[in-house]
């Protein structure tokens, strides 16, 4: 009954992912509700939980795995990640710098 075993493994993967995702969702929502952190620490905590949860989704829901996923899919994903950093980071840097210089008078 390898089919059954495969089935159980697939379902278990999803359930583990779901469990981790729930935990990683509850944390930021609880932090938001309770307060007490400074803005910087709050932002960092939320960002960290979000990034980890995205990784969890990729791993357990989209089944991305450094060994079994084809290299061309990983390359596309990695390149997307790099570009997100460049584009979002670049925008924040450029527009932030501009805003600071324009307000400073």
């Amino acid at each position: 009954m390898t089919d059954l075993r495969q089935h159980q493994r697939d379902v278990r993967t999803y359930l583990i992912g779901f469990g981790l995702a729930v935990v990683l969702t509850v944390i930021p929502f609880v932090i938001t509700a309770t307060g007490g952190l400074s803005r910087t620490w709050f932002d960092l905590a939320i960002l960290f939980a979000a990034i980890v949860q995205v990784l969890v989704h990729l791993r357990y829901f989209l089944h991305i795995d450094l060994r079994h996923t084809p290299r061309e899919n990983l390359l596309a994903l990695g390149f997307t990640g790099l570009l997100m950093v460049i584009m979002i980071g670049g925008t924040l840097w450029i527009m932030g710098n501009l805003a600071a210089r324009m307000m400073g008078t």
Partner: protein
């Protein structure tokens, strides 16, 4: 009912606008009349308009590109004439009209001339170069073609119904917002870009998937022909850069039609963010234009020097590095917007760095030519001219990469000279070279050399005359997009530039004559071997024109330049003992349907005919759903037919001399002595 569309949209307000509209309408009617008169509508429909064959789609892309080149060039000529005469005088084009012309010229040349041209070449060549029968998604390929055509159609029809944008090809807000551009022009620009952008994105995905999944056995990454590498990298740039165009265009559309405040002067809008996003697409876009041309040059240099490409790996590496770095330089287009020194410096440095891999390539091509047996036929002439001219443009680009220099030259004609100096030799010459090089493969006969050379020299001289004066004018302080001026020192330069444009005009005319003469003399120019230039890569390993199935048997690849290896071992034209039948996708009317709906959608968005836009959108969705239920139909080509075709071609190839009736061009005896590398 019809939104903003009234009879006032027709161009009866100006004679020049009316003439433009008349030329557009009559040109369209002329084509329709010829098709009906020769009774070829059925033929066209069955063999071309609904064909999902990547080769035919490629050729249709190039046809779109050539038509749009003509239109874009007429715009250029009109601008050159205006600036040559508008010293202390209004010239013949009122400002409002002049502004439309530079906007449509830039938009057309980049998005509807250069993009279809390179997409067409890649479509035609790349699958054959990797030993595939077609692209990964042939039906989507056809749909992309029609989405591009729909975008081009929107630009063309803006000449007849309404007006085009006056905001330049980059459409910067706040000028392009409702407050300053209340008409339909900017909307035409936006929807032409968005509609064709969707098609281009699909094409990019299609090409990447093809290269990744459809390579023939043995075609490892380091055996890919260089053109395929550049096609792959350009496609990667497309897939990852075009979302920025969609976002910038979409937000501007929301500002204009729904009162959003992304880029407005009031309501907390931030116009500079438009420049920021647009150039995240815009800079990669110029590499999308240039990389495939680099690929063409690489193939041509190797073929016409009868040598293997020098330092193949470094060329591949340089291509990939350019594709990545292309995403890190976008701010150099707006150094002057007011960012601090650290930001400007960083992007100045990335810009200078990206020039390095390009320089590497130039040396690789030169080294390939070094001690080669160079044949100066037309494709090689374009290539040589590119090497010299592009380098000049590159140097002016590195100059502009210094923010302090850019502060004085930004928005002057120096910049106009710089980017034409990149894009004409770097992209257009490459496309012309590829057009001449692959024409015999597509149609079974070569293009006439004499007229090809004339066209080449007229273009080259015309280019230098038209654009070198603009460098000087830029340093003299002439800003771009000037409808008139009062500085007498400028006029001589502008007259020289106009003369250059006339030379280019003659060059374009020579290309037309060349096509005519070649069709007339097709017997004399026929290529029976399938390999007219003694080339090295797999697209030549088939008859000219190739059969729908490309290869009777998918070849096994054992190294770089696989076709050259086969010829060397005398196995290129050996016939197989047995053949298998092949199934191919059937024709599909989907392209026409989606293209028409997309065009109508864009048109009704421009004119605020929202019910029609919604209807189009719903039809598209309904069609998509319906087609998910349709089984793909295939046609099966019998083994007999394949065997017969293969036999005919290989017999001809073994017996025919490489140039029938042109013994001087047959290099085989010479080549046999050159050690294969």
């Amino acid at each position: 009912m019809f939104g903003r569309l009234t009879e006032e949209a027709l161009p009866f307000y100006s004679e020049i606008a009316m003439a433009g509209a008349a030329v557009t309408v009559l040109g369209g009617l002329f084509v329709v009349a010829i098709v009906l008169w020769t009774g070829s509508l059925g033929y066209l429909w069955r063999n071309w308009l609904t064909s999902v064959d990547h080769k035919r789609i490629g050729i249709m892309y190039v046809v779109v590109a050539l038509v749009m080149l003509l239109r874009g060039f007429i715009d250029a000529l009109m601008m050159r004439a205006q600036q040559a005469m508008a010293m202390n005088s209004p010239g013949y084009l009122p400002p409002e009209h002049f502004d439309q012309i530079f906007s449509s010229h830039g938009t057309i040349m980049i998005l509807f001339m250069a993009m279809p041209f390179l997409t067409g070449l890649i479509n035609f060549v790349m699958p054959m170069q990797i030993g595939a029968r077609d692209v990964a998604f042939p039906r989507l390929n056809l749909i992309s073609l029609y989405l591009t055509a729909a975008g081009a159609g929107l630009v063309l029809i803006s000449l007849v119904i309404g007006k085009f944008s006056t905001a330049g090809w980059t459409g910067y807000p706040p000028f392009s917002e409702n407050e300053f551009s209340p008409g339909v022009g900017v909307d035409y620009w936006i929807w032409a870009l968005v509609v064709s952008g969707v098609g281009t994105t699909i094409t990019g995905i299609n090409f990447i998937t093809t290269v990744v999944k459809r390579r023939a056995p043995g075609m490892t990454w380091m055996r890919l022909p260089l053109f395929t590498w550049t096609a792959l990298c350009a496609s990667i740039l497309i897939v990852f850069a075009f979302p920025a165009l969609t976002v910038a265009g979409g937000m501007l559309a929301l500002d204009r039609s729904a009162g959003f405040h992304f880029f407005t002067n009031d309501g907390g809008g931030n116009p500079m963010n438009f420049a920021n996003i647009l150039w995240m697409w815009g800079h990669p876009e110029v590499y999308i234009l240039i990389l495939p041309a680099f690929g063409v040059f690489s193939e041509i240099v190797a073929t016409f020097s009868s040598k293997r490409l020098f330092a193949y790996k470094s060329l591949v590496f340089a291509t990939v590095v350019i594709a990545v770095l292309a995403f890190t330089t976008w701010l150099h287009h707006f150094f002057t917007m007011g960012a601090g020194a650290s930001v400007n410096t960083a992007f100045g440095i990335t810009t200078m760095i990206i020039a390095v891999p390009t320089g590497v390539k130039i040396f690789d091509w030169l080294m390939t030519m070094y001690r080669g047996r160079i044949r100066y036929q037309t494709p090689m002439l374009w290539t040589t001219a590119f090497l010299v001219t592009f380098t000049i443009g590159g140097v002016s680009g590195v100059l502009l990469a210094v923010p302090a220099v850019d502060y004085t030259l930004h928005n002057t004609t120096f910049l106009v000279a710089h980017f034409h100096n990149m894009v004409i030799p770097g992209a257009l010459f490459g496309f012309f070279a590829g057009y001449t090089y692959w024409f015999p493969k597509a149609f079974g006969f070569r293009l006439d050399e004499r007229w090809g050379k004339r066209a080449f020299w007229l273009w080259l001289v015309g280019f230098y005359l038209a654009f070198m004066p603009l460098y000087a004018l830029g340093t003299m302080g002439m800003v771009r997009r000037l409808q008139h001026y009062d500085n007498p020192d400028w006029q001589p330069y502008l007259i020289v530039a106009a003369i250059g444009a006339v030379s280019v005009l003659l060059g374009i005319a020579s290309l037309a004559v060349q096509l005519w003469v070649s069709i007339r003399d097709r017997e004399r120019l026929a290529d029976k071997t399938g390999d007219p230039w003694n080339a090295r890569t797999l697209e030549w390993y088939s008859s000219s024109p190739p059969p729908a199935w490309n290869f009777a048997r998918v070849p096994k690849i054992e190294g770089l330049d696989p076709f050259w290896r086969l010829k060397e071992r005398g196995e290129a034209y050996r016939e197989d003992e047995s053949y298998d039948s092949i199934s191919l996708p059937r024709n599909s009317p989907d392209g026409v349907v989606y293209g028409a709906l997309a065009f109508l959608f864009g048109f009704s968005m421009v004119w605020h005919i929202y019910w029609l836009a919604l209807l189009c959108l719903l039809s598209i969705v309904a069609h998509l759903i319906a087609s998910s239920f349709r089984r793909p139909v295939e046609q099966v080509i019998s083994a007999d037919e394949i065997a017969r075709h293969d036999h005919e071609w290989k017999t001809a190839a073994r017996t025919a001399s490489r140039y029938d009736g042109d013994p001087l061009c047959d290099y085989r005896p010479v080549l046999r002595k050159v050690p294969a590398q």
